[in-house]
């Protein structure tokens, strides 16, 4: 009897998803759907927050006031994006404190790209063009994802994200028209960021066990490989404007497929970085934990202040 009731609810849920009716926080949903969303949205939020660190590294050393102001604005946007996403995840019944704890203890993952270091100013350009470019490619379809609060957060994020990519490309364009040293710096940054960027779409479809279910629930709208191919096709053209090269000797237009062919991805590196052995994993988490711990007194003071003020405002009882 109870099992039958659950099956009916699951069928009704799937029917709604199939009709493109959004699922909202108060609606019944399969437990697995909730868990998948919590994992995906919180990972996404963590990525935004950790993503501030490699870029924050260059705020004090930006080459001009204009570059500095835009970089600050961009990093501030990333914080905002993290907050939109944490709020969306909280509607699924997980608390903010729990999510932060999962990040700090390594239980929750974040995008492996942020475990690479930003060695030169050109890296800020490459991150904007490639990393934000890949993020946009992933995020645009998520504006139509089946869970309402997540879709709404993504709409807001996508609106803001396009300035990020454009400012990055502008940095690279400037360097690509500069001195020989600047050109070399530009190419070097592209060389280092290209492969990690195309890994951002996640494992190949045949190694991605959750894809089929996520597609059925319309959490995902395209597979990892579909989005990766789209990204490669676009970047292969854009790089020509920079007069630079993508570091892939096998990158070649395939007229038959109507797409660029590209070389084999080093998945060993991908899994190594995800499992904590990237160049900056420890540094990133240590920086987050430090910020959280050193901010503890601020959070406590704010609560005490609010409580004190609430006490004062309460009319005295005779």
């Amino acid at each position: 009897m109870e099992k039958q009731a659950t099956i009916n609810l699951e069928q009704q849920f799937q029917d709604r998803v199939d009709q493109d009716i959004r699922i909202e926080p108060k609606d019944w949903m399969p437990e697995k759907y909730r868990q998948t969303l919590i994992r995906q949205i919180s990972q996404h939020a963590h990525s935004e927050i950790v993503g501030m660190l490699p870029e924050g590294n260059w705020i004090t050393r930006a080459p001009s006031l204009r570059r500095k102001a835009t970089l600050i604005a961009k990093v501030q946007d990333e914080a905002g994006h993290g907050l939109y996403l944490y709020s969306a995840a909280e509607t699924l019944g997980i608390s903010r404190a729990e999510m932060i704890d999962q990040l700090h203890t390594g239980k929750a993952k974040y995008s492996s790209i942020f475990n690479y270091p930003t060695l030169t100013w050109a890296d800020i350009g490459a991150i904007g063009w490639l990393v934000d470019g890949a993020a946009i490619m992933n995020q645009v379809p998520l504006c139509r994802t089946s869970y309402g609060p997540y879709a709404r957060a993504m709409v807001r994020i996508c609106k803001e994200e396009s300035f990020h990519q454009r400012q990055g490309f502008e940095i690279l364009l400037t360097l690509s028209r500069g001195t020989e040293a600047q050109k070399a710096m530009c190419q070097d940054a592209i060389n280092r960021w290209w492969w990690p960027s195309i890994m951002m779409f996640g494992p190949a479809d045949d190694a991605s066990p959750h894809t089929a279910q996520s597609m059925k629930w319309k959490i995902k709208r395209f597979t990892n490989d579909e989005l990766r191919q789209k990204f490669v096709d676009i970047c292969a053209e854009q790089v020509k404007i920079l007069g630079m090269e993508l570091p892939d000797p096998e990158l070649k237009w395939n007229a038959e497929r109507g797409h660029y062919d590209f070389g084999k991805i080093n998945w060993e590196e991908f899994w190594q970085v995800i499992s904590g052995n990237g160049p900056c994993n420890k540094e990133r988490i240590a920086a987050r934990v430090k910020a959280h711990e050193e901010g503890a007194w601020v959070r406590e003071a704010a609560i005490s202040f609010a409580n004190k003020r609430a006490q004062k405002q309460r009319p005295a009882v005779a």
């Binding site: 926080p25 108060k26 019944w28 905002g80 509607t91 019944g93 803001e160 959070r299 609560i303 609010a306």
Partner: protein, 120 residues
């Protein structure tokens, strides 16, 4: 009957906790959750845009400014603690909205009028 299904609800953050004694103060370190409503320009309604954590109303408004209006998206902000939001139950939607189902005569197109009739 459906007690075996765990339903988490948006507005339930407050409903699930025991009602606080009058004047009781918060002691948990986590800032409460607030819902944010923004008027994008004069003449339009405030619209729900999302939520955030803050220690008190003033901080919630200031955080809402930083989180939701970085590009001049608003000229007025309302915040309300999420626990004070009460919501209708989607499980009862069919019966709850039933009274309006058979009243098409509430719409202007219900009425048969000649085409020559203008300006109506």
């Amino acid at each position: 009957m459906k007690t075996f299904i765990q339903i988490q609800r948006y507005g339930d953050y407050g409903d699930r906790e025991p009602v606080k004694a009058e004047g009781a103060t918060q002691n948990q370190a986590d800032w409460p959750l607030w819902e944010v409503f923004i008027r994008s320009k004069m003449g339009l309604d405030h619209k729900h845009v999302g939520s955030l954590h803050a220690a008190d109303a003033q901080m919630a408004i200031e955080n809402a400014r930083d989180v939701y209006t970085r590009r001049q998206e608003g000229i007025s902000i309302w915040v309300v603690e999420s626990k004070y939001i009460h919501a209708s139950n989607p499980d009862e939607a069919a019966s709850f909205y039933d009274p309006a189902n058979d009243k098409v005569y509430r719409h202007p197109t219900f009425y048969d009028l000649p085409d020559e009739l203008k300006a109506m």
